[in-house]
């Protein structure tokens, strides 16, 4: 039996659509604004300030990516850290997750507890700083990679996922005389591709957006990742917003009158977040699955 839609139903629908659309606009609006400003020509900016672009240009991008050394350097550092870090993190986490599913592993419960404990307790802010310092990793590219190359959360996702695979697969391989290593690489890993993709995406985003490790441990500007360069570049502290003067942006403004600082800031943002925002819609399902698997067990 099909019920007729009452006016109340229709009203409800319209209201829902309206609110949801509004929420959508609130989330995407600011990004569209940033994108829009990045296309304003400097000539137009001088006359009209920030408006919908009267003329469109890619000159800002050319400048920010190729003309500003620190940005280019930041890109290099960030790409290196992200690629190497994600690879290292995914590999080690996958293997650890695999091992934790081996029922014949001694001390399995202990290792499990060891890992989950790190989610509840840490040394704080200073002890890690001292650790990095005394391990000799200060001001190296590795201090931006190692501390983020492991995650109890991702390990649990891996472990849960692998333990969900049918045991019969490994059993037949085991009967045929395969070692654990072979079972891992020939059977389990190929079957776990979606989960591996998921955690590597989580790691990648973490590496890409990280500014915290650089902020604490790096003083060599050549090693600044993109987010750190951005932070410096736009110097968004509420204190010096009064002058909007102390940032690198203003400096560049003086040396290159062709590049107004607000426009450059927006372009820098697009350059810094563009890759992630462009990619994530297509790999959503991995993220979503990861959140669900992790939360159930977490």
């Amino acid at each position: 039996m099909v019920l007729k839609r009452t006016p109340k139903d229709v009203f409800f629908d319209v209201l829902i659509y309206f609110i949801v659309a509004l929420l959508g606009i609130i989330t995407v609006g600011p990004f569209l604004y940033v994108l829009m400003v990045s296309f304003i020509t400097s000539a137009d900016y001088k006359i009209y300030g920030i408006t919908f672009p009267k003329h469109w240009t890619l000159a800002n991008y050319k400048y920010v990516i190729f003309g500003v050394d620190v940005v280019r350097q930041g890109y290099v550092v960030t790409i290196f850290v992200t690629v190497v870090g994600t690879f290292l993190a995914t590999l080690t986490t996958t293997l650890l997750g695999f091992c934790l599913t081996r029922k014949n592993m001694p001390g399995r419960g202990f290792v499990n507890r060891l890992i989950t404990f790190t989610m509840f307790f840490s040394g704080g802010m200073i002890p890690p700083y001292l650790t990095i310092k005394y391990l000799g990793l200060m001001n190296t590219i590795w201090c931006m990679i190692f501390p983020l190359s492991y995650s109890a959360w991702n390990t649990m996702i891996m472990r849960t996922s692998i333990s969900g695979l049918p045991v019969s697969l490994e059993e037949s391989a085991w009967i045929d005389g395969a070692t654990d290593l072979q079972i891992a690489f020939r059977i389990i890993i190929p079957l776990s591709k979606p989960v591996i993709a998921t955690i590597s995406l989580f790691y990648a985003v973490g590496f890409w957006n990280d500014w915290w490790t650089a902020f604490l441990y790096i003083t060599n500007k050549k090693l600044y990742p993109l987010q750190m360069v951005l932070k410096d570049l736009i110097s968004i502290t509420s204190a010096n917003m009064a002058t909007q003067d102390s940032s690198l942006a203003a400096q560049m403004d003086k040396t290159n009158a062709a590049m107004p600082s607000e426009v450059m800031r927006m372009t820098s943002i697009v350059v810094a977040v563009g890759p992630i925002l462009a990619v994530y819609p297509f790999v959503q399902k991995y993220f979503i699955r990861g959140v669900l698997v992790g939360s159930i067990k977490g």
Binding site: I50, G123, G124, W211, A242
Partner: protein, 291 residues
């Protein structure tokens, strides 16, 4: 095989715990690594100092306040969003909005703060341009204490509600459709359906998430707050949280490492206690605990 991963855990999560020692000593960084072990023991001196300090109440108050506010507004937001999305009939529309709602989650606070500044800048921001065009005076939003909490909480909600709704949407999609069909036959309105079917069905999840959040009550989002208040001492009174203070004392100056570490240890212990309480309450309510 698992050695590399375990090594990372041990080196970067457990090895630092050795450094906690210095919260009971008078450590000077000049003494280097051996200094961690050779420095003089001072027992609970730093903890006493913190509890008696002028800043203790303010920091505790600020930390709890900002987190409670974020909890109050930020906790229901993903749930409400999930409920709203669930009522949307058009699948494509729902998918698009859902995808778009994750955007803020994928950018760092550095970027978010800059976007906020772009909108709210006293000289260039469009909000102020609009205000001045209507004859008003430009408001320096980011520097004003009265705007601090709305902005901090608001931006946190903006950044998190889409991503946070993932888990609720998943739970809602698992609800048995027969219940809705029966309700419709009985003449139940859409709103009543949400109240009597949808919400109770995800009650367990909501309780679980709430408890997890409460366990985090003392861990303010350092990144966000730090970037926001950096250098603006006018805001310290209301905005300074334990972590930002620890950073200033422990890393931005040279003599306060032991003190800062002690405060950090205090915070970690409180966090552990909060989580244990949360776990206990959760189990008492019949849900699964965290431990």
């Amino acid at each position: 095989m698992m050695a590399p991963a375990l090594l990372l855990f041990l080196l970067f999560s457990y090895l630092p715990m050795v450094g906690i020692l210095i919260s009971f000593k008078d450590y000077n960084i000049i003494t280097g690594f051996p200094g961690i072990f050779s420095s003089k023991w001072v027992g609970f001196q730093w903890f006493k100092k913190f509890f008696e300090s002028y800043y203790f109440e303010r920091l505790m108050y600020n930390t709890l306040k900002v987190n409670l506010l974020k909890l109050f507004f930020g906790f229901p937001a993903p749930i409400i969003f999930a409920l709203l999305l669930n009522e949307v009939r058009s699948k494509p529309f729902k998918k698009v909005v859902q995808t778009v709602s994750y955007m803020p989650h994928f950018v760092s606070w550095v970027v978010v703060m800059q976007i906020i500044n772009s909108f709210l800048s006293p000289t260039q921001g469009i909000i102020n341009k609009w205000i001045t065009s209507m004859g008003g005076k430009a408001i320096y939003f980011i520097a004003e204490p009265s705007w601090y909490f709305p902005l901090i909480v608001g931006s946190a909600v903006w950044k998190g509600f889409g991503w946070g709704s993932i888990i609720y949407l998943a739970a809602i999609s698992g609800i048995d459709m027969e219940m809705y069909e029966a309700a419709v036959l009985d003449g139940c309105s859409r709103i009543k359906q949400v109240w009597y079917i949808t919400l109770p069905s995800i009650k367990a999840l909501i309780v679980m998430m709430l408890i997890l959040n409460v366990g985090q009550l003392i861990n303010a989002d350092f990144g966000q707050i730090f970037i926001y208040i950096s250098g603006n001492t006018k805001l310290y009174d209301i905005a300074d949280v334990i972590d930002t203070y620890v950073y200033r004392i422990g890393l931005a100056s040279t003599r306060g490492m032991s003190y800062a570490t002690a405060i950090g240890l205090f915070k970690s212990v409180i966090s552990l206690i909060l989580l244990s309480i949360a776990d206990f309450v959760s189990k008492r309510l019949g849900e699964e605990g965290i431990f």
